[in-house]
Amino acid sequence: MSILVNADTKVIVQGLTGGQGRFYGLRNRAYGTKVVGGVSPKKAGTDIEGIPVFASVKEAVAETGATASMVIVPAPAAADAVLEAAEAGVALIVAVTEGIPMHDEASFYNRVKRDFPASRILGPNCPGLLTPGECNIGFIPAEVAKAGGPVGIVSRSGTLTYQALNELAGLGIGVTTCVGIGGDPVPGTSFIDCLELFEADPQTKAVIMFGEIGGSAEEEAAAFIKARMSKPVVSYIAGVTAPPGKKMGHAGAIISGSKGTAQAKMAVLEDAGVRVATNPTAAGELMAEVVAGL
């Protein structure tokens, strides 16, 4: 078992004919992911090393039966690409594109939520997700991961997602699914969404959650863990020693209801029963203790 994607997930790539889209689309396929099509209005009818290119997402879905899409187009085109995927009925839209304006994200997130509630957006500005041995959509260097569980991973930072996989593999611990939710202001999928899915997944026995300073997503996750999670959670918050970071303005500080510091986040997570490490390696070691006790 796994969450969100498995060996049967059929994926199309919006932006397959671009440099990045081609590299990662082919790499995902080489890993074993069922990459069944690409979308490019200008290059419809051609193929990328055997992967057919369609004129629209609608056509690609009708021809291939794909249920997931990787959006890997330039930022100015990303909002339209996400909406096109939702309109075509794609269930999982993995938006890896970085640099999308905040107002575009806020707009397409709310549009999809209202008009296409069956579609889920992951990202934007995320590394994608991986069910080791089965399906990889996005940038995650899957070769570092060990398959089979029992640990689920969710992370806000791209590179820390890889670090988490690497730490666990180094300790001989397998992963059910690893999800990079991305660090942008309006993530389509939150920590809580992933925690809820992991809680319901019988093969996942424990979860590792990597957060970072700023915002309040970790505080919200802590409240959810306290109220609803029965499975053990290990966490690390990047930026323990960071100096006061980006200016958030008065309004931002009020909304978060917290300073957004690593210390504040670590305190609420500990209060929720989470085992909190001070660096990624220590988080892996804490998880090894948890797994040994399962």
Binding site: H103, P141, S155, G158, T159, A238, H250, A251
Partner: protein, 381 residues
């Protein structure tokens, strides 16, 4: 990108929000000429991106040219919490009956926009939010629907402003919302929003933070050139397009991704070292970007050792390695380098580096070992 007050007011004016007539000045003579034009009394205001400028003597009232000259002379060059004033804004002074607070921003938890309005403005709004939360009227705006005039009026009425201010506030807030979305701002804030004795509502201050991701559709932002004196290291990094924050230590850091860069700082601290900087080369960095990053670190005289921590996803190992080799050929790197390279094409990268390895370029398999080695090298230097 945070705007100065005068830039924020220029932006507000484009959306029809009433602001005071004023002039930008970089010299005392320009300030006096500006004051003469807008008419006395005037307020002379330091343009710095830091709070508490009033208390620091950066905002002064002048009733005539002589006073304007004196205040401008005192404020230009004033050091306000490390920010040296290089530019001032001189505007016609307003009569104030009441002071309010208004803002729009993104509510990250709700994933919708949030407008906040309070009859208690001109003060620290965080304090109002904590001490009398009822005094802060909030409106949630769905980005798909926008803010309707009817909803705006309900919101303004909930804030219990002086009834004389209602129509003017509704008008300004609808325009402020248009500015928030249209100008691609992360934050627009007016504190204080004032009611004048003759019943006009007016923006007396402007705080605007623009979303750098939207630069591609705002060529006009090129006018908002920064005047602040950055740390020279930060200026150099910024010119090279790198995410850099100067710190106090002696271990120079280069990582890919903000999360890993922060984790690298954390781990250097944990093994007893002090980072000289935070530097994120971003996703998909080329060899040239890596070489630029090394040059920036190398130009920092406090750096005694360099720790490069790369976990490639979209960043490719061979690009990183080629960048390091390129930098070694182009410049004389004065500190020893420790590198930890994992992820996409890491094998290729390690292969490229192998022939260059020495006691000045060391490769380590994990980030903890690499951090320890870099910290030891910095201490032994």
């Amino acid at each position: 990108m945070d705007l100065f007050e005068y830039q924020g007011k220029q932006l507000f004016a484009r959306y029809g929000i009433p602001v005071s007539d004023g002039a930008v000045a970089d010299t005392v003579d320009e300030a006096v000429a500006g004051a003469d034009r807008v008419g006395y009394p005037v307020v002379v205001k330091a343009q710095v991106q830091v709070g508490g400028r009033g208390k620091a003597g950066g905002v002064k009232l002048a009733n005539n040219a002589e006073e304007a000259r004196e205040h401008a002379g005192n404020i230009l060059g004033l050091d306000i919490k490390g920010h040296v004033v290089q530019r001032i804004w001189v505007e016609h002074a307003s009569d104030i009956a009441e002071e309010y607070y208004a803002s729009f921003t993104l509510d990250r938890a709700a994933k919708k926009y949030l407008g906040m309005l309070s009859a208690q403005g001109g003060v620290e709004i965080e304090q109002v939010a904590v001490e009398s939360p009822d005094a802060l009227a909030r409106v949630e705006v769905d980005p798909v629907d926008g803010l309707s005039a009817a909803n705006c009026r309900v919101w303004v009425e909930a804030a219990k402003l002086n009834p004389a201010a209602t129509d003017g506030a509704v008008d300004i807030l609808l325009k402020l919302y248009e500015a928030f979305v249209g100008a691609d701002a992360d934050l627009v804030e007016i504190n204080p929003l004032i009611l004048t004795p003759d019943g006009r509502v007016h923006a007396l201050d402007a705080k605007v933070s623009l979303d750098d991701n939207a630069r591609f559709r705002h060529p006009e932002w090129d006018d908002f050139t920064g005047l602040e004196k950055l740390d020279p290291r930060e200026r150099e990094a910024s010119e090279r397009g790198l995410q850099y924050v100067g710190l106090e230590g002696d271990v120079g850091l280069i990582a890919n991704g903000a999360g890993l860069a922060m984790a690298t700082c954390d781990i250097v601290h944990e093994v007893g070292g002090k980072p000289a900087n935070f530097l994120d080369i971003g996703g998909g960095a080329s060899a040239q970007v890596m070489a630029n990053a090394l040059e920036v670190i190398n130009n920092d005289p406090s750096v005694k050792a360099i720790f490069i921590n790369i976990f490639g996803g979209i960043t490719k190992g061979e690009e990183v390695a080629n960048g390091i080799v390129q930098a070694l050929e182009q410049v004389d790197i004065s500190s020893p380098i420790v590198i930890r390279l994992d992820g996409t094409n890491a094998e290729q990268g390690r292969e490229i580096l192998k022939s260059h390895e020495s006691d000045r370029l060391v490769s380590k398999p994990t980030m903890v070992e690499a951090a320890r080695t870099a910290v030891q090298m910095a201490k032994g230097a």
